[in-house]
Each structure stands twice: as C-alpha cells, then as structure tokens.
C-alpha cells in the first residue's frame, strides 16, 4: 500500500522516489488533477453555449483559449499520463520484475510532465489543440503559442522515454518463467501502445520544431508566403495523432481485459484474438491518418486510400468488443464499480465505433467536418470509453493503492450520473452537428432547435461535472476514512483467486 493517508510517509519520500508504484501514483494524481482542471474548462465552455450570444466570455478569442487548453489538457495531461501511471503500477508486477527497467529514466519521464502542465496553463494559447498553420505560425498570439509548442515538445519526449522503458521492461526484464503469450493482455496493450508512441511521436516532434522556426520567421516550411505548404503540417500532425487515438484507446482496452474477466469470474474468451487484435490495430492504425483531412482538397485517389485504411482498422476493434461480450457471456458477473464503468465504456464504444464506421464514408465528411458531429464523436470515445474505463481502473486499483475501500454506493451513483450525462451531451452533439452547428464557436445562430439541443447538452455536461465531484469526494474521503479492504479479495469475489497486486507490498521502496 503506497498511499496510506492515516500513516503518511514524508512527501519527499514519494516525490523523490524512483519506485515504480510511487511514480505510478504521481502519474495518476497528476493526470487526475489535469482531468479535473480540463473538466472545469469544459464546464465553462458548455455553460457559455447554454444560450446563443456571449455570456461569460468576452469573445471568440477567450473562448478559443479555453477549448485549446481543455483539449490539450485532456489529451496530453490526462489520457496519456494516466495510462502511463497504470502501466507503471502494474507492468513490473505483471512481468514479475522488481521495478521498471530504468527507474531513474522513469522518474525523469514523469518529472517532465508538471512543467508542461505549467507551460500550457500559464500560456493559455488560443490556436486550438491541432495548431494548424498558417494561423499558428503567423497569427497566434505571442508567448502563449510558443509555450504551447515547448510544452508539447517536452511531453513528446517524456512519452517516448516512458515507452522505451515499458518496451524494455516487458521484453527484457520479464521473468524467465513467463512466456510472452502467457503474460496478461494489459502488458500486450502496453507494448502495442509503446510501439505506436515510439513510431509516431517523432514525426510530430519534428513538426513542432519546424513550426517553431516558422514562427521565428527563419524558415517557411508551412508558410505559403515563403513557398511552404500548410497541408504538409496537417499530414505530419495527423500521422502522429491518428495513431495517438489508439495510443489513448489501447491502454483502456488493456484495462478492460483486466476488469472484465475479473468481475465476470471467467477467463478471457480468447486470449489469442486479443493479442492479434492489439498488434494488428497498432500496425493498421498508421494507415488512416489523412481521413482527418478529406476536406482539405485531397485527390480522389488519396481519399479512397485513406478510406480503405480507416475501414481496415475497424475489424480488430470489433474483435475486442466481441471478446469482452463473449467473456461476460455466461459468467457470474458482479457489477462492482470497476465493472460498471467497464461495461459502460464498452457500450459507448459500440456507439462511437458505429459512428466511426459511418465517418469513413467520404461524402459524409463534407457534412460533418468541423461540426459538432465530430465533437460528439471523439468525445464519445475519449470521455465515454477511455475516461470511463480509466475511472473504473481508479476504482479497481483503489484498494491496492490505499488499502481501503471506496464508498460503493457513491461509486454507483457516480456511474449512473456520468452515463446519463455522457449520453445526453455527446449524443445530442451528433444531432447538433447534422443540424449544422460548427465547432469552436462561442456564439451560434439563435435557432430554436439549436438552442434546445445546446441546452440539453449543457445540462448533460453539468451532470457529468457533478458526478465527478462526487468521485473526487469519494476518493479523498475514502482514502482517509474508508473501511479497510481485505488485501486478498477487496471486491469480495470469492473466486479463490488472490487479488494478485498484493505482490506490490512485498517489495521495499528504494
């Protein structure tokens, strides 16, 4: 038990530790903080959109700063570090090694994140999370944009270092008695994610340097006045950030492979198809980046190629869903909070995946591009699937980390509210998009249908917000006063299987 708030260890002992559980804990606390901060921005954004016209913002510019920082925070300070945190916590335990391969490198990778947090939040850039030139190189305001570039640059390096560490830990430090095809699927998800990060991230890091020198006026890679091409940036950007979708998504798949069999009290339906689907999607995920750019004037051939590439990524994802359902089928399911969040995430993944299949149809893109359809679609996967699964994982790890049990009824209330809120806000966003509501605007035309849809969505957002306030209260209060958990079987599954993370306690910190 790492975080025993009744008997606190000195803060410096956690902060300067290189032990994988401590670093994992720091990662998770940082990312949950970012989730709360980014969520607060989302609340402000949704509140502004409750009515047409301007309520709380002075104009488009301030609003742009809010959605830029919201997006950047949620993607790079919540989704990626949280997955790294859980990986840190579980991977060494799962491969039965005393720590990560390079503990100090691990600590360095973590400690790159807080400065980026500060850079992004102090700068409060306004160029949206994808920072398309020429706006970002010619028009975006002063130090904010530069701070954003540096923060993303450092975050890129941090995630590459973390990924290298994971790869080496899993492939080289694995216990000799543990063959690759016997290790938990979560480790396979971490391998796939790390391989994707190592392959894709350098491209964006290069693009950031090019963008920065463009901003300085030294070069003109993306500046059309100097012979550059803004579309080149979009290719570099999406070559990193379409795979990044899977970098967010595969860890949550890995977590579901932990949660679903445990609470179904049944082994995984098909281990092999899980491995195959993870590896295949890690490869195919690189073949579809330009489907984000159908509307930038691509040729017909390009559009066809990337449509096929996008469609090809669907079957592996469908295999995961089938695997989850077949695992639950006939199992004695216990709907504890982690399982609720896991099943909720799968259900919403089915919805967002169906939307994704529809999105591949090129002609539809010219209706939905940069509309609220897109916003609804990717939030449905990022909030609906990824964040819900991550939340479930927090509940799942809570007894291990604190040695105490969370308040189960509060957790169930949290789930119900979050689920209702998510369906309201992101389901309605799809409709708004088809109705022609553009994204990234603080003001919209006062049409009755748009107003009512935005009000439903805003109400949903408030419900999500309040559910996560409950979550925060539950976590803090239960960590201090919760009832002590049975370390062998905290969820009272009575399967006879030990809650195997008990291993973590056997290793002293160093």
């Amino acid at each position: 038990m790492v975080l025993e708030l009744k008997k606190p260890r000195p803060l410096w002992e956690i902060i300067f530790s290189t032990h994988h559980t401590d670093i994992g804990l720091l990662y998770m606390i940082t990312s949950l903080t970012a989730f709360a901060a980014g969520g607060a921005l989302a609340m402000a954004i949704r509140t502004e959109l409750f009515l047409p016209g301007l309520q709380e913002f002075s104009g488009q510019s301030d609003f742009a700063r809010f959605f830029t920082v919201h997006g950047t925070t949620m993607l790079f300070l919540w989704a990626v570090p949280f997955a790294a945190g859980v990986g840190n916590y579980l991977v060494p335990i799962m491969v039965r090694y005393k720590d990560m391969a390079w503990p100090k490198l691990n600590a360095i990778a973590y400690w790159m994140i807080p400065p980026c947090f500060v850079l992004i939040w102090v700068g409060f850039s306004d160029m949206s999370w994808n920072a398309y030139p020429p706006y970002s190189i010619l028009k975006a305001a002063g130090p904010a944009a530069d701070m954003w570039i540096f923060a993303l640059k450092i975050l890129g390096i941090s995630s590459i270092l973390g990924s290298v560490n994971f790869m080496v830990t899993i492939l080289k430090m694995r216990h000799p008695d543990l063959p690759l095809m016997k290790m938990p699927l979560f480790c396979w998800a971490v391998i796939a994610t790390s391989a994707m990060i190592i392959t894709s991230m350098p491209t964006f890091d290069a693009a950031l340097i090019m963008m920065y020198t463009d901003r300085l006026g030294v070069t003109g890679f993306f500046n059309p006045d100097m012979g550059g091409d803004p579309i080149a940036y979009q290719h570099l950007f999406w070559f990193t950030f379409h795979p990044e979708v899977y970098i967010f998504f595969l860890p949550s798949i890995g977590m579901l492979y932990e949660i679903i069999p445990t609470f179904s009290r049944k082994p995984i339906f098909s281990y092999y198809s899980g491995v195959i689907a993870l590896v295949v999607v890690a490869i195919i995920g690189f073949g579809s980046w330009a489907h984000h750019m159908f509307a930038t004037g691509m040729t017909f051939t390009e559009k066809t190629v990337f449509m096929v590439g996008t469609l090809a990524a669907v079957p592996p994802s469908a295999m995961h869903v089938f695997n989850f359902m077949a695992t639950m089928w006939g199992g004695r399911i216990k709907f504890a909070a982690p399982m609720l969040f896991g099943v909720g995430g799968i259900a919403l993944f089915y919805a967002s995946g169906a939307g994704g299949v529809v999105n591949t149809a090129i002609p539809l893109d010219f209706v939905t591009h940069d509309s609220y359809w897109v916003v609804g679609h990717f939030h449905l996967i990022l909030m609906g699937t990824i964040s819900l699964t991550f939340t479930g994982m927090v509940y799942y790890l809570f007894p291990l980390i604190t040695g105490r049990m969370y308040n189960t009824s509060l957790a169930k209330l949290h789930f119900c509210l979050a689920m209702v809120g998510i369906i309201l806000v992101f389901g309605v966003m799809h409709l708004e998009g088809l109705y022609g509501m553009p994204r990234r605007v603080s003001d919209y035309l006062p049409i009755a249908q748009l107003i009512i849809m935005n009000q439903i969505a805003t109400t949903g957002a408030w419900i999500i917000g309040s559910s996560y306030v409950l979550f925060a209260i539950n976590m803090i209060k239960s960590a201090m006063f919760g009832k002590l958990a049975d370390p062998k079987d905290p969820f009272e599954m009575k399967t006879g299987k030990e809650y195997y993370y008990d291993y973590a306690r056997k290793n002293p910190h160093h």
């Binding site: 510019s61 020429p134 004037g297 017909f300 079957p315 089938f322 077949a326 299949v357 010219f366 990234r440």
Partner: protein, 324 residues
C-alpha cells in the same frame, strides 16, 4: 479457450458491412468529385474574417453570393491568409480554403432561398462571425436576368450593371443584352444592400470594386471640409495602432475620408463593438479594401462622442468627437 467459429462469423459480418459502406461511399464520392463540364466557376476567397466571391465575368461580391437555381456551379476556394473552411450546411457543401492552394467542389442548387455560408475552420478572433449569405434565385428557362435593383447594388462592374451576375463562361444561361426580363420573385428576396452614408472615392478602380465600396447611394453630395482618418499598416494585428488618429475631432458636417493603408480590409462602423446597440446605425463605411479610401458623411450626427470599431477586426476601436 475461445470458440473461433462464432468469432470468425462476427468478424466476417463486420467486414462485409465495412465493404458495403466503403463501396457505397466510393460510388457517391466519385459522382461528387468531377464537376460537369458546363458548370460556371465561382471563385470563393476566404480572408480574416469575411468571404468574397468572384464570378466568372469578373464581378465581385462581399459576404453575399447570388447564384441561380438549377445551374451547376464549380467553386474554386482559396484563402488569402490562414485556413478557412467554406461551408453551406443546407447543401452539405464544405471545403477548406487553404492559402497557396485552390480547392474546388461543385453543386447544383435546387431550392431557391436564402442560406447561410459559414467558416468551419477556426481562423482566429472573428471566426464565428465569418458568415455570409447565399441567395439562390429561381431560374426560369435559363433566361433569368437579375432583378432590376439588385445587381447594381450587389455587384457592379461599371459596364453591365443590369446583368452582372449570371454571365458564366458562355455555356449556360447567357443573359440577353438589353433584355428587361425580370424574374418574378415570389420568395421576396431582398438584394438591395442597405445604403450606408458613404460615397465612392474616385480613386477606386472599376476593376477592383466591391459591393460595399462601389455602392452609389443617395447620400447627399459631400459638402463640408474633408478630414483624414487613416488605418495604419499592421492594424489587423491586435496590439498595433488601429486608427490614426485614435480620437478624431471634427466639426459637424465634415466629411471623414478614411484611407486604408493596411493590407487587410477594414471598416469604420459606429458603436464600440458588435454587441453595441448603435453598431452600424449611425455611420458605417462598409468594407474598405486595402489601399482604398471611403468618405463618411457625418452631417447627420449630433455633437457628441461616438466610439467606432472595425467589424472585421473587432479589437480595432477609435473615437469620433463631433463638435457643433
């Protein structure tokens, strides 16, 4: 573990569905991709933060686009500064305007009416106000001429004021010269641009006129002495001086000559911001293109202090003090 038959069946069903989706969208996209050879070309220019349109015959419109129903149009979409996105949601038209590239799409508008054109790609401060109006006029047997009062206001070349809109490349719907056939417009389309109190500066060349700047109005002829107000170079970047002088003192009845020395279009519009109730009510120069100048008549203003701003760049503001 695992029962591979059911899983294979599931995956094959998914793949079959995907192939169907892919094939169908390929077929549709193939139709959408290639414009019919007789389509008229309209050039769409996106710029922070307004749209301008150039018809095949050289006429220009700003923030208003007049097209005819049932005629195939091919849009060439370009941008002058950052990436914009030309979108007409009602017709499912959407294409990025990328600086340095010419993107195209085509469409046949089948329902007359007034529609919204908006920018879908975040392009900075004025992004959400970057809207324009699309007017689709009924097209009777391809002999439609534009309404009598309409074309002179919306687009003027100075040579063919009564039939400016619909002259394409000659393949379709050529307007008979001198024909007074006006369309019976049951939709109540109002094409007359509200006459602002401005007069055209003589220095504006006819080849480069825009609807706002070229509108001859019934404003009284300039009478009072002229006072200069200039928009310095670089004003379109926030933080730089917007107007020179920032506070302009005039006598009632003076003519303010606004000269735009910047490389972006600007306006001088009454009111402190777009939400000000006096926005554009007291005086409005309309768009002043780079290098052009426009005269604003202040004869109707009572003595007092009037804030003004630029509708394109809402951060630009100045003050006009009128003395008796």
């Amino acid at each position: 573990m695992g029962h591979s038959t059911s899983e294979w069946a599931f995956v094959l069903v998914v793949i079959a569905l995907l192939i169907w989706v892919g094939a169908e969208s390929w077929r549709v996209e193939h139709t959408l991709e290639f414009a019919p050879p007789n389509s008229e070309t309209v050039r769409v220019i996106g710029q922070q933060w307004f749209w301008s349109f150039q018809h095949a015959d050289g006429t220009q419109e700003v923030n208003e686009l007049h097209l005819k129903a049932n005629v195939p149009y091919r849009f060439e979409i370009v941008s002058n500064d950052v990436i914009h996105d030309f979108a007409v949601p009602d017709f499912a038209i959407l294409m990025d305007a990328v600086p340095g590239r010419v993107n195209s799409l085509w469409n046949v508008f089948d329902k007359p009416g007034e529609y919204l054109i908006e920018c879908r790609e975040y392009c900075g401060q004025g992004h959400q106000q970057m809207r324009a109006k699309l007017f689709i006029e009924p097209n009777n047997n391809a002999t439609a001429a534009t309404g009598a009062g309409g074309s002179s206001a919306a687009s003027t070349t100075g040579t063919q004021p009564s039939s400016a809109i619909s002259q394409g490349t000659g393949l379709i719907s050529v307007v008979k010269p001198g024909s007074n056939a006006t369309v019976t417009q049951g939709t109540g389309l109002e094409r007359v641009v509200k006459p602002p109190t401005i007069t055209q500066n003589a220095s504006s060349g006819s080849s480069n006129t825009t609807s706002a700047a070229s509108t001859k109005t019934s404003a009284p002829a300039p009478s009072g002495p002229s006072v200069a107000l200039s928009i310095p170079s670089g004003a379109s970047t926030q933080g730089n001086p917007s107007y020179d002088p920032a506070t302009l003192s005039i006598k009632k009845g003076d003519i303010v000559t606004v000269t735009n020395n910047d490389n972006a279009p600007h306006t001088v519009t009454s009111g402190s911001s777009a939400t000000d109730p006096k926005n554009g009510k007291l005086f409005d120069s309309g768009l002043i293109m780079p290098g052009k100048s426009v005269k604003v008549n202040t004869a109707s203003l009572a003595p007092g202090t009037y804030p003004f701003h630029c509708t394109v760049h809402t951060f630009m503001s100045g003050t006009l003090t009128v003395k008796a």
